[in-house]
Symmetry: C2
Subunit: 226 residues, 2 copies
């Protein structure tokens, strides 16, 4: 089986128009019909399909966390890794300069080509074709621990951090309430024995506390590393 055939099996979609797939695999160094416009299209398709899948899979996760989860899935590093798994480099079409300098191993070239393949699939087979590739390649990465450390709330993380060092739990106090009723602002303080207190302001008291906790966490982590 040739590389192109094997690639189409790996991405879970077979192109009706093979020239479209070839264009998606063509780096700009290789000629005029290169993949940059397809990459623009594919990047948008990927972002949307991943957003839709995360939205459905994590019904209780806030939009901010969904957005962070997505960023993790669509970043160059992740895409280059996926491209590695499906041996996309074997099908890349590069100019002679890029071939000599090992362009096929570059994360950016691989990630861009993967996006371009998704864009080309959308043109070739409509939205469902782009969806199929994302379902095949990206959906398996949407695990429950995708959120990971960063998505847990700062107050929880701060408490765990302090417990890990055998220190007392933090104390939160509301130090000010500003503004009129409909645009109230809260200033929360986070105090930890032996550390400078941190303060943060927000329209929600809970968020102000979370932000003060995040600041404290940064301060303590810098102290540990220093």
């Amino acid at each position: 089986m040739d590389a192109l055939e094997s690639l189409q099996q790996s991405v879970g979609y077979h192109f009706r128009e093979q020239p479209l797939l070839l264009q998606a695999l063509t780096h700009r160094s290789a000629g005029a019909r290169h993949n940059e416009r397809l990459e623009f299209l594919g990047d948008a398709a990927l972002n949307f399909v991943v957003a839709a899948k995360l939205f459905a899979r994590f019904p209780k996760v806030s939009e901010g966390d969904l957005s962070r989860m997505r960023a993790r899935l669509v970043r160059e590093e992740t895409l280059a890794e996926i491209a590695g798994k499906i041996a996309l480099a074997d099908s890349l079409i590069l100019g002679p300069g890029e071939i000599r300098s090992g362009g096929a191993r570059r994360d950016s070239i691989r990630a861009d080509a993967l996006e371009a393949v998704i864009g080309a699939a959308f043109l070739d087979g409509g939205f469902s074709a782009a969806e199929r590739i994302v379902a095949q390649l990206v959906e398996p990465l949407m695990t429950d621990d995708l959120g990971g450390e960063e998505l847990r709330d700062p107050k929880t993380r701060l408490q765990e951090f302090l417990q890990g060092q055998g220190r007392p739990v933090p104390v939160y106090t509301l130090v000010a309430e500003k503004g009129q009723a409909h645009e109230r602002r809260f200033v929360a303080r986070c105090s930890v024995p032996g550390a400078e207190a941190t303060e943060a302001e927000d329209g929600s008291r809970r968020k102000a506390e979370q932000q003060a906790a995040a600041l404290m966490l940064v301060q303590l982590q810098v102290a540990v590393r220093g």
Copy 2:
């Protein structure tokens, strides 16, 4: 006809699940079932559908320019304007604080709700529903002059700028070529009598000249304003 019915006519899509539409119109100030997650979804849908439509409509435009055109179409200001045209504010559901402070007139609240409506439409009627709303509301803005001033190349703009002031045309010189054959870098200089020359470097000579022209343009425009 009530506001909700009229809104659905204006966006070109009638919801099967009215509660979904109501949630899209609910600002976070008004309760727990607010539109922030739908906004996340709708933002991604909008970005993709606009990308796909621009891709098809402007087959010769580079990915960079497509990206700039899209940014213009999906920015808050544009979306708030569209929301204004379809009287979306009449259907917004806001908390008492936001009502008192005139939240329905805020660009961000309107733009977010419009995105949320697109996200809700996708959930309600699939990709084609989101596509229909974008076709109805955003596609009319995809005119040939969408690119506008910024999308014309800097060398052309610099020349026109100088002609407008009755000054001589700029002169471009190649001041250096660096690197090996497959990764050649070009340094171009743009000279205009009475102004400090500008220089820029790029892997393409043409692009280096364009960048030098852009720098000159900035410099001359600052001088004019100063």
